[in-house]
């Protein structure tokens, strides 16, 4: 764990100041420290005590504690606004603290597909990334190693890979075997899921012990979180300060370089951390916010924002799900992670399939009308008995009877649908509301377009077809009318070669400011429909290599 010190004064002679200690910031800090650079990490939130995790888990299960209490989110520090028709529940799944939102995440780690980097070329919409899968491929392998990914190379739809996963994948669940029968009849492929979760002891942490509460808290530490790389970074000499929210980045007189990160301390002091280079790694919301808060006379629209793209092109993945009950026991809620998915409809969501005794019909649409679809087979469908018990008005034998009735036959599929970047989805500053330091809070503008709705509908069709084939009594569906975000904040400081329409270069450095770099999903040009953290990690490791080169050259 972090040895965050009570001394929160700035360090002297720092090479790199990293803002944020989530997976992006901690991986960058660790890699640069190993190369011999002096690194300071400034983290807005606190360093949580590992010993408190079981208590946090209990809060996540028991009524009487709001969901934000699990990681002490909420209040003036985390205020935000979300105008418009579609509210964005920002604080539901982010954590401010050492380790960032990996303390809360589910731990699914897939590589983006080759197609995700070439959306413009392939479909004529949006933009291509300025880098491709091959550029990122070695870093994906390094990221899988860093995150101790458990996986099996049985996914015929995944992009090419040479290496085995660092750990063997988790075996399929009993309910996967039920799905497999129906999927075979329909010609739908099932395959394993790469998990940032130890299937065997590795990296100083045990194998998963099955608490079943991965999201929002893993008490055992078997699920990867960025505190591992914070600890490694500290061991390599990095200084990590917690509870020091950076208020703004200040540039020099020329406007070409950031000179200092101005941060506040819990006792009300303000300090300036100077460094040769700065890496902003605060996530897809706080990163653009910090750049916008760093406006100056030279840069009245915010730092690194000559393109006007800072905060723009905000994207998320949309949840899509269908579920109900079977006339058989399905053995759900033993673990809190997935063991099977289907990426068959990812590159071409319109495609049909044909199996031994049935089919999923092709969609009546052009492939470019739909975005990618990732399908998931749940291991936690239906109610969790302990949560049902605590929420009930019954007790004794009546309660047990109700639990036996409600638990046992749940079955469900989930999934993610991709959303293209659109300028009208953006993160701005809301000057009418300020946080605990008097700074305007983030204002999130988020909406769905027709393409996304059509894709959600298509995903629902496929899920319905599979569950019907399985014989399920479908009881609920999450689709175009009631979908919600997966809390994957992407696109708000996008990467590109043209400084007029992008914020960072292909090397992840800002176009405008020569010593300011950005790590994280805010640099994604498009987001596909894969959970983003492995790509965040790969880009961060790549950024560290580029920054190391520049530091060596200068």
């Amino acid at each position: 764990m972090s040895q965050s010190t009570a001394d929160r004064t700035p360090s002297e002679r720092v090479d790199v100041c990293v803002v944020g200690s989530g997976p992006a910031g901690s991986l960058v800090a660790h890699r640069l420290a190993k190369r011999g650079h002096e690194v300071v990490v400034l983290e807005a939130g606190e360093c949580f005590d590992r010993a408190d995790r079981l208590e946090r888990m209990e809060r996540s299960i028991r009524p009487g504690h709001g969901p934000l209490s699990v990681w002490d989110m909420g209040g003036p520090r985390d205020a935000y606004s979300s105008p418009g028709d579609r509210h964005y529940p920002l604080n539901q799944a982010r954590v401010k603290g050492v380790g960032g939102s990996t303390l809360h995440w589910q731990g699914m780690v897939m590589r983006l597909h080759e197609s995700d980097f070439e959306v413009r070329s392939r479909e004529g919409v949006s933009r291509d990334w300025p880098i491709d899968y091959e550029d990122l491929r070695p870093y994906y392998a390094a990221a899988e190693d860093a995150l101790s990914v458990s996986g099996d190379a049985d996914n015929p739809f995944a992009p090419p890979r040479e290496e085995r996963f660092p750990l063997p994948g988790f075996p399929p669940s009993y309910s996967d075997s039920l799905f497999a029968e129906a999927c075979e009849r329909l010609g739908v492929a099932m395959h394993s899921v790469p998990n940032a979760r130890n299937s065997e002891a590795r990296d100083g942490e045990s194998a998963c012990v099955g608490y079943g509460t991965c999201d929002p808290v893993c008490p055992s530490g078997a699920k990867y979180d960025a505190t591992r790389h914070v600890a490694k970074a500290e061991a390599a000499g990095v200084r990590v300060l917690d509870r020091v929210p950076v208020q703004r980045l200040e540039h020099d007189r020329t406007g070409e370089r950031v000179e200092a990160a101005v941060y506040a301390t819990p006792d009300g002091d303000t300090h300036r951390q100077r460094a040769r280079a700065f890496v902003v790694a605060c996530g897809g919301i706080e990163t653009p916010r910090l750049l916008l808060l760093s406006r100056s006379e030279t840069y009245p629209d915010g730092l690194a924002n000559s393109s006007g793209a800072v905060g723009r092109y905000f994207m998320d993945h949309l949840f899509v799900g269908t579920g109900g009950t079977l006339d058989r026991r399905t053995r759900q809620n033993h673990v809190g992670f997935l063991t099977s998915e289907c990426h068959q409809f990812y590159d071409d969501p319109t495609r049909g399939t044909e199996g031994t005794d049935g089919a999923v019909p092709a969609a009546d649409a052009d492939p470019s009308d739909l975005g990618p679809i990732k399908l998931e087979f749940f291991n936690y469908a239906g109610p969790s008995p302990v949560e049902t018990a605590l929420g009930s008005e019954e007790w004794g034998d009546d309660l047990l009877d109700s639990l036996r009735e409600s638990y046992g036959n749940g079955i469900a599929m989930g999934g993610l649908v991709g959303q293209l970047p659109r300028r009208e989805n953006y993160v701005a500053l809301d000057p009418s509301t300020t946080d605990d330091h008097g700074n305007p809070v983030p204002e999130i503008h988020w909406s769905l377009d027709d393409r996304t709705r059509k894709t959600l509908r298509r995903a629902n069709e496929i899920q319905e077809r599979i569950l019907t084939e399985l014989g399920a009594d479908i009881a609920w569906q999450v689709g175009p009318e009631n979908t919600g975000p997966a809390f994957h904040h992407m696109g708000t400081t996008r990467m590109g070669t043209d400084p007029a329409e992008s914020v960072v270069t292909p090397r992840s450095r800002t176009h405008d400011i020569e010593n300011c770099w950005i790590a994280g999903s805010s640099t994604f040009v498009t987001g596909g429909a894969m959970n983003p953290t492995l790509t965040i990690a790969a880009l961060s490791l790549r950024l560290a290599d580029h920054l190391d080169e520049e530091l060596e050259q200068n």
Binding site: A51, D52, R53, L54, E55, M57, E58, I61, R62, P63, G64, F170, P171, P172, S173, Y174, S177, S199, A207, C208, V209, G210, Y211, G212, T213, P219, S220, R328, R329, R331, N333, H334, V335, G336, T339, N379, S384, P385, V386, E387, A389, L390, E393, E394, W395, G396, D397, L399, L400, L403, R404, Y407, G408
Partner: protein, 196 residues
């Protein structure tokens, strides 16, 4: 079905209590369990069963909690008294603030029983205990550790005891789930099909 040492240890582990402490407590009890496995039990240690000065959970509080558990738990469950005692007392050692909340809620429940049923809660027959709990609206209250009396009794007594039970292996098995949410029951049971 019987609650065992494994259940108490599991519930304590889920609640964040160092297993060595609770195992040592269980080891002091003749009826502590069935020896059917679970973490090592540190048989050599003996921390005694006396209440530490800072531990607000004494024999009276335990009597009330066991009496409440007999209402809240299914009727064919055995081993309630050692299970509740191990869970509540082991947890109190590690989380004294929480234990004070439990003790205060127990006192509230006991006062209610004396006012409305003319006797302490633990001495009431099961029907009157049930009536007292419903009279306080513990069935319908929202759990809130800092709320009104009924909300605190709901949180610190009812939910405390039901969390202990249904996050334990035996509680899960009552429902058909050997590894309930909150219990570190490993990664094999999810792969198994239903029994015969």
């Amino acid at each position: 079905m019987e609650l065992t040492r494994r259940d108490a240890l599991g519930a304590l582990a889920a609640a964040g209590v160092a297993v060595g402490t609770s195992a040592a407590y269980l080891a002091t009890r003749e009826d502590g369990g069935d020896g059917s496995g679970g973490p090592a039990t540190d048989e050599g240690e003996n921390t005694g069963t006396e209440r530490p000065a800072e531990n607000p959970i004494g024999d009276h509080e335990l009597d009330v909690l066991v009496a409440a558990a007999e209402v809240f738990y299914p009727s064919d469950l055995d081993g309630i008294e050692p299970f509740v005692t191990a869970f509540v007392r082991g947890r109190a050692d590690d989380r004294p603030d929480h234990a004070r909340g439990v003790a205060d809620a127990v006192a509230t429940l006991d006062d209610y029983a004396r006012n409305w049923h003319d006797a302490g809660f633990a001495t009431l027959d099961p029907e009157d205990r049930e009536a007292a709990l419903r009279g306080m609206a513990v069935d319908a209250a929202d759990a809130d550790p800092t709320g009104a009396e009924d909300e605190r009794v709901r949180y610190y007594v009812r939910d405390e005891l039901l969390f202990a039970l249904y996050a334990s292996p035996t509680g899960g098995e009552l429902v058909g789930l050997e590894n309930p949410q909150g219990h570190p029951g490993g990664t094999t049971s999810y792969q198994r099909g239903p029994g015969p």
